[in-house]
Subunit: 111 residues, 2 copies
Amino acid sequence: MSITAKIDGVAVTTQANVYFDGKCVSHGIQFADGTKKSVGVILPAALTFNTGAPEIMEGVAGQCRVRLKGTDGKPGEWKTYGAGESFSVPGNSSFDIEVAGEPYHYICHFG
Amino acid sequence: MSITAKIDGVAVTTQANVYFDGKCVSHGIQFADGTKKSVGVILPAALTFNTGAPEIMEGVAGQCRVRLKGTDGKPGEWKTYGAGESFSVPGNSSFDIEVAGEPYHYICHFG
């Protein structure tokens, strides 16, 4: 369970992505090979995100509760993820995420 | 008045800086030569920031009203800054900033 504190050799998009009135804020980063990721933070809130491409969410600080949409369309079970832990979300799906207390900081890997 | 949309060749700190309950969120970046800056966003709010080192705030989207603390310790005049515009804040000082409507996105240059 190692924590990715820094990501080297990237270009950062200076304009942030602001979701849910600022409950989630991220900055896009791009690697030399064109790979795109984002670094972001979710403030205390209960939110539902829809995915286009599959995503891997890697925690770097704080923790969250997450419930993926099941393949049957029904919500799955709540699971808790902290710093150094990751969860995968399929493409064209959705997940509920709850953050309480301290903000949850993450790296979002696409594809 | 050109807008800096991307910053290349940096390391990004994955954990965000969260100020004023999330009304301001930034991510630190570091250049190969060790220079540090940050990319951030201020949501609609009226905030007062204190500076340690001198700062140059460079707007990349949205706009803000800013009032620096004068050298006599009294507030100066309000000025409006948008994307592609910058303002400088002395070290060990403070400034009031107001954002209304859309978020104000910025690059903070130190020193």
